[in-house]
């Protein structure tokens, strides 16, 4: 039973990280119908920025709470800036191009960013400092749930709640939903569609960066290639829940996280990634619209 709960918590932790990344995919897809292949790199860049900023601040001897806040802020700001720039350079010029063009451009961007970090920083794995302190009250349950599990769950729940509020109740959120529904109509009612699309990329990238910071501190090491796998898995989660749907992305992420945790725990850990990929292939074949998505009717 203890083993079961251990796996449950590990699944929930994974799920909430996937959710933070999957939200970016789903928001971008909902608004411009593009699979942002470079989104996984935002997560990686977030983790690297966090590593750099927290190390520098530690060396200069700041207190831990200040380091935590500044690191999270820096990761979100810089990843957001990267998201903004990538959209401006690689996607905006292709807004009216054939479908394949932005996708290939996105793949190119992803390869570019990976190698940029490889060259600018290091090709090796780097140790990531444990930013989250051990909580004393968790000691009796040490084998089952760690403090970083709890922090990840809490932070991601908070962030997701904030995002939901932003989208449901603010003017910006309303503009985002309008743009997602019908870009031309949104333009006609005076919404600056370009700015809303940029904003979507910034918000999505910042969320992914928070995810990157949390998971890096949980796992303890990062390298330039972590974004690829995480990106694909988060995409799987987004598709599982129904791409374009925000609650769907969260649901899909938890389903994927739990499936992975239990499958690796009870079946075999060698095939961890194969489970995720197989799940992706199966959903796309049998229920391409996902759990909460609506089936799109292709019109002539």
């Amino acid at each position: 039973m203890e083993y079961f709960f251990e796996l449950l918590f590990s699944g929930l932790t994974r799920g909430s990280i996937y959710a933070l990344i999957a939200l970016g995919y789903t928001m971008v897809y909902g608004i411009i119908g593009l699979i942002n292949f470079a989104h996984g790199e935002m997560y990686m860049i977030g983790a690297f920025t966090a590593l750099i900023v927290s190390s520098v601040l530690t060396i200069y001897g700041l207190p831990l709470p200040a380091i935590l806040v500044l690191t999270a802020l820096a990761a979100a700001v810089w990843a957001g800036a990267y998201g903004f720039t990538v959209e401006r350079l690689a996607y905006r010029p292709l807004r009216n191009a054939p479908r394949l063009a932005p996708l290939i451009s996105a793949i190119g961007m992803s390869i570019f960013l990976q190698n940029y970090v490889l060259l600018a920083q290091t090709p090796d794995f780097v140790p990531f400092p444990t930013l989250i302190p051990e909580f004393a009250f968790l000691e009796p349950y040490g084998g089952i749930v760690g403090s970083s599990d709890l922090v990840i769950l809490a932070v991601s729940t908070l962030v997701m709640a904030a995002l939901t509020l932003l989208i449901k109740y603010t003017r910006i959120g309303k503009a985002m939903r309008a743009t997602a529904q019908d870009q031309k109509m949104a333009l006609l009612v005076g919404i600056n569609v370009d700015r809303i699309i940029s904003l979507t990329f910034v918000v999505g990238s910042a969320l992914a960066a928070i995810g990157g910071l949390l998971i890096a501190s949980h796992i303890g090491q990062i390298n330039f290639a972590i974004g690829f796998l995480a990106g694909i898995k988060a995409f799987t989660a987004a598709v599982l829940g129904g791409i374009g749907s925000i609650p769907g992305a969260v649901l899909g992420s938890f389903v994927l996280g739990l499936t992975e945790a239990f499958a690796t725990g009870y079946v075999s850990s060698d095939y961890e990634d194969v489970f995720a990929f197989s799940l992706l292939v199966l959903i796309l074949i049998f229920r391409p619209a996902g759990l909460l998505g609506k089936a799109a009717v292709e019109k002539v």
């Binding site: 810089w78 290939i104 140790p127």
Partner: protein
């Protein structure tokens, strides 16, 4: 009509302001990653301020150049818009397409490749063999991506199927290269159909992701199923291709392999060219341009999609057999997504659907980094940038395909 007066390309104040702004933005953007380098163990920080100046200066210069080009285009835009895009690219190709120029050109290229091993060292021959293998791979992927418009990101899986077919058949049954080549090709086609069936209903971007997943699954299975594939340690001591049982020294064998790869590349070019102008080829173009219209024309979408996957996979698998024979050692690390991305880059750079373009791009992309050692480190960075730039600047590729027209004007 008189052409609009040329506007001289002088940067205005606004241009310069914008360029400086871009420069500052990129300095800010790249600040943590390019400037700061932390050494976690020694707990020290290196500040690389020079990088920041480089980034700022370069990005400002590029931004200024882009603005000037855009302004220039806008001034001359009136004239350009009257000619269709194709007409700009076509004359350079039309120049070579007349028989009196084409034949000597082809003869010269053919002669160069024929005497290549006599002129250059074994090392160079080896590099050229690799480049020629990528020609085969590029042309194979060109069938799927360029002709049929199905974005396949897991193409390397079929390459792996071919390589492991030969590796395993040789390991367990001692089969030679020439037996493994057709078996590998057939297995490749089979895997192509296996992948094709489930993804028949998927649209472009979903298709891309599923093929990517498929490619990764194949690699992960090869890595983890040790009893079957010997896992990450791979298969060693695979025999080089034989020639009627003649004993060959290593050097002769490499030269023989070079000619073999040339023959393979020529065969691929021939077959792909014939396919392109065949009934199936035209059906693929129809599918790529508009699948609904294609169906309305009475084309069996299922059949031609599967044919595209199967034929594309066949070439990849045969190249895989060749690869296993050339390196005599294979392991799953040779078949990562990066490899698929490189092959895709070849197709995109050359021009999707263009045979000459893909051949040229494969040679350029494979040979340049070998001879420019200084840039070899930046190879993948450049590949990524090439994919983005090509899509924005010239989506039809370096050497756009020339569509065969039936107007009888030739």
């Amino acid at each position: 009509m008189t052409p609009a007066p040329e506007k001289t390309a002088m940067p205005t104040g606004k241009d310069i302001r914008q360029a400086l702004l871009t420069g500052f933005w990129f300095m800010f953007l790249t600040f943590p990653l390019l400037v700061i380098k932390v050494h976690p163990i020694e707990q020290t920080v290196t500040w690389r301020w020079a990088n920041m100046l480089w980034v700022g200066g370069l990005s400002a210069a590029v931004a200024l150049a882009c603005r000037l080009v855009a302004a220039h285009r806008a001034a001359g835009g009136e004239r350009r818009r009257q000619e269709p895009d194709r007409a700009i690219a076509a004359p350079s190709q039309a120049f070579f397409l007349t028989p009196s120029r084409l034949v000597p050109l082809l003869a010269a290229v053919g002669l160069f490749f024929l005497v290549f091993p006599l002129l250059f060292s074994t090392y160079q021959v080896n590099i050229m063999t690799t480049a020629l293998m990528y020609v085969v791979l590029g042309l194979g992927l060109n069938i799927v991506v360029g002709f049929a418009g199905l974005l396949d990101l897991g193409y390397v899986a079929f390459y792996a199927v071919g390589a492991y077919t030969y590796g395993l058949l040789h390991l367990h049954f001692g089969l030679g290269f020439w037996t493994a080549l057709p078996i590998g090709g057939l297995l490749g086609a089979l895997f192509g159909v296996l992948l094709g069936f489930p993804v028949l209903r998927l649209r472009g971007d979903y298709l891309a992701i599923v093929t990517l997943g498929f490619g990764e699954i194949i690699r992960l299975v090869l890595e983890n199923w040790g009893d079957f594939s010997q896992g990450p340690s791979g298969i060693a001591n695979i025999a080089r291709p034989g020639l009627f049982g003649i004993e060959m020294s290593l050097e002769t064998s490499l030269v023989y392999q070079y000619y073999l790869t040339i023959a393979m590349a020529l065969l691929t070019i021939f077959v792909v060219n014939r396919l392109r102008n065949s009934r199936i080829g035209r059906a693929w173009f129809a599918l790529r341009e508009d699948d609904i219209a294609c169906q309305a024309m009475g084309i069996n979408k299922t059949a031609i999609k599967l044919t595209a996957f199967a034929l594309g996979a066949t070439w990849a698998a045969m190249a895989g057999v060749l690869f296993a024979a050339k390196t005599t050692f294979i392991n799953p690390a040779s078949f990562t997504f990066l490899e698929s991305a490189i092959i895709l880059c070849i197709v995109v750079l050359g021009g999707m659907g263009s045979i000459v373009g893909v051949v040229a791009a494969a040679l350029i992309l494979m040979l340049l980094p070998e001879y420019l050692r200084a840039v070899a480190e930046y190879r993948m960075l450049v590949f990524g940038a090439v994919l983005v730039l090509m899509m924005i600047v010239q989506p039809q590729g370096l050497i756009p395909r020339v569509r065969r027209t039936y107007t009888g004007s030739h």
